[in-house]
């Protein structure tokens, strides 16, 4: 069943505009739990409570505040909060285009598909142009009262929009550099390169399944049927040898297995 579009927008690149629809690319497959009152297995509910009196405070009496310093709050009124909300808009604007390798993947947060909404020529034309130039457009838009930044790129002929994290969110690890004295010796480097080469393959995302999720569901089913649940035992790790010995033994083991099945 085709997914429903979350939002309709006008995508603008310079003077060019294309009508698009936005779709979530991620679908949630997690096993969801609810919090229950253990005694009677009914779902819990939450309420805001005055810690002094233990009395619940009704929703309409709640005030929203920003803590400006420990113990100092500034109350913001409903009107003030509404005034800070960005003005609604249908525009996705791209004002900066970068070569793909210029954008660190750590900025990317969540992928969405864009689909054509009446102008397929324009839609596929832009996808081809982005792919051909190996480029990413830095896009900005306002959706559901929130400002977003994102990366517009082409994937398999379609347009994708990846929301991007805020500037302050990435921890700047670039400043950390290991000291030069830590260079491993040439023999170890050679062995490590050989070992990586024996383990090299094409990336195949379909080779990985969330087995843990399947186990959780199986556990729940067994429990629901009233069966006794048995758990697997942890395996022991072999003792660590010297780095060079371990590399050599790994290579030898790899050769014996010669082209063994798709491991995980």
């Amino acid at each position: 069943m085709p997914a429903r579009a979350m939002w309709k927008a006008d995508l603008g690149i310079g003077d060019m505009r294309i009508p698009v629809k936005l779709y979530a690319a991620v679908q949630d497959r997690s096993v969801h739990f609810r919090l229950l009152h253990a005694a009677d297995a009914t779902p819990v509910k939450q309420q805001m409570v005055d810690p002094e009196t233990g009395e619940p405070v009704p929703k309409e009496a709640l005030q929203r505040a920003v803590q400006v310093e420990r113990g100092v709050f500034v109350v913001l009124t409903k009107d003030e909060l509404e005034a800070l909300e960005p003005a609604p808009s249908r525009d996705i604007t791209v004002e900066r285009v970068l070569r793909r390798e210029k954008v660190d993947l750590r900025w990317f947060d969540r992928p969405y598909y864009l689909g054509p909404d009446g102008d397929e020529d324009g839609y596929f034309g832009l996808a081809e142009a982005l792919a051909g130039r190996d480029s990413i457009g830095i896009a900005h838009w306002t959706m559901r009262k929130k400002r977003y930044s994102g990366a517009l790129h082409s994937r398999g002929g379609y347009l994708m929009l990846e929301t991007m994290r805020h500037a302050e969110e990435l921890v700047r690890i670039e400043s950390i550099r290991p000291p030069k004295s830590r260079e491993p010796d040439a023999r170890e480097i050679k062995l490590a390169e050989q070992l990586i080469a024996t383990l090299e393959d094409k990336f195949d995302p379909a080779a990985y399944r969330d087995e843990h999720r399947e186990q959780v569901l199986a556990l729940l089913e067994r429990k629901a049927e009233g069966k006794v649940v048995q758990f697997p035992k942890a395996a022991k790790r072999p003792p660590q040898r010297s780095l060079e010995e371990a590399l050599e033994a790994s290579l030898a083991a790899g050769k014996k297995r010669a082209g063994g099945g798709r491991g995980r």
Partner: protein
């Protein structure tokens, strides 16, 4: 800054500790998040300005509940529940899965961006950092990324391991069934666009092409505006509430600075020294209690956080199903995770 005892900054707690196995080589690592939330959380106050706390009540009889009264339940289609304990869930993830087993290496560029979820830094954790440096340098020089699965906090993760600047980084990835295909979404089949249209877009792209990202474009304008408005009102003395029993706020910034300090030391191989923030970070350092907080106090703090702040924390701690959790469920989940 409050005059709190601060002889040595507490070492940032790793989110996860495990072992990268690479053939028969074991590389012990600690995993730290490489993103943090900078959002300004909104707190809820009562009509008289008193900071409120969140409490659970039984939806059937309205009875107030303590954390010990609460269990996790899975809801079946018929509305019945099967409860499950943390011990049962933990037992599904045997110790073996604390390994990031690097059995597969691929070209870095083969890993698709849309599968990448959340970046982490892997810091060397063992007595010796030799194997860590060897692996990081070799992967970087050969342009290879590792692909592995591991279990963290009751959830299985697929991760890509990248090496950059001598550091190993892990980025958790979505399993392929968590990503819709264009067909699932109902997009029309790809077809060739008329050449003039493509060329017009190529010209438009070329005109907008720049050399680098402008970080100013990625600033969180809403949080900045919120903070600014609050500071303005405070300066004008409007709607300011001072609370004697100041609730302890989460010091995420301090944690992050400690992570940097930890990383710098670990990478340099100075394992045994306690983490200490460098002079460049000292000025920004927020007060933070040394030592462990009593769990009761920690629980209180959670009650005072906004749902957004709780969600951000749940995200950082990789609490499963967090986007579907209500505020009180987030608090309970964070208590369990913390």
């Amino acid at each position: 800054m409050a005059a709190e005892p601060q002889t040595a900054a507490p070492e940032a707690r790793a989110f996860w500790s495990g072992t990268i196995t690479f053939g028969l080589v074991s590389v012990p690592v600690d995993l730290y998040p490489a993103v943090r939330s900078e959002r300004v959380p909104l707190r809820l106050l009562g009509p008289d300005g008193q900071p409120l706390v969140r409490r659970y009540f039984c939806s059937a009889d309205g009875e107030p509940l303590e954390p010990d009264d609460i269990v996790r339940g899975y809801e079946w289609d018929d509305g019945s529940f099967t409860t499950v304990t943390d011990e049962e869930l933990d037992a599904l993830a045997p110790e073996k899965s604390r390994d990031i087993d690097l059995r597969r290496f691929v070209k870095r560029e083969e890993i698709p961006a849309e599968l990448l979820e959340r970046p982490y830094v892997l810091a060397p954790a063992g007595e010796s950092t030799k194997a860590y440096h060897l692996l990081a340098q070799t992967m970087e020089r050969t342009g290879r990324a590792g692909v592995a699965t591991f279990v963290m906090r009751g959830k299985e993760y697929l991760a890509a391991i990248f090496a950059e600047g001598g550091l190993l980084r892990a980025v958790t990835m979505r399993f392929v069934d968590e990503l819709r295909t264009p067909g699932d979404v109902g997009l029309p089949p790809v077809r060739r666009a008329p050449a003039p249209v493509r060329k017009a877009f190529e010209r438009a792209l070329a005109e907008l092409e720049r050399d680098d990202l402008d970080l100013a474009e990625l600033e969180d304008e809403y949080s900045a505006a919120l903070r600014e408005l609050a500071e303005e009102k405070r300066a004008a003395g409007r709607d300011v509430v001072e609370v004697e029993e100041a609730p302890a706020e989460e010091e995420e910034t301090a944690d992050v600075i400690d992570i940097m300090a930890v990383l710098k030391q670990r990478v340099a191989g100075e394992r045994r020294e306690p983490a200490r923030a460098g002079p460049d970070t000292a000025a920004k350092k927020a007060p933070r209690k040394s030592g462990k907080r009593a769990s009761g106090e920690r629980a209180e703090e959670l009650e005072r956080l906004s749902k957004q702040a709780l969600y951000e924390r749940a995200k950082a701690l990789d609490v499963p199903n967090r986007s579907k959790l209500s505020k009180e469920e987030l608090i309970a989940a964070l208590r369990k995770a913390g």
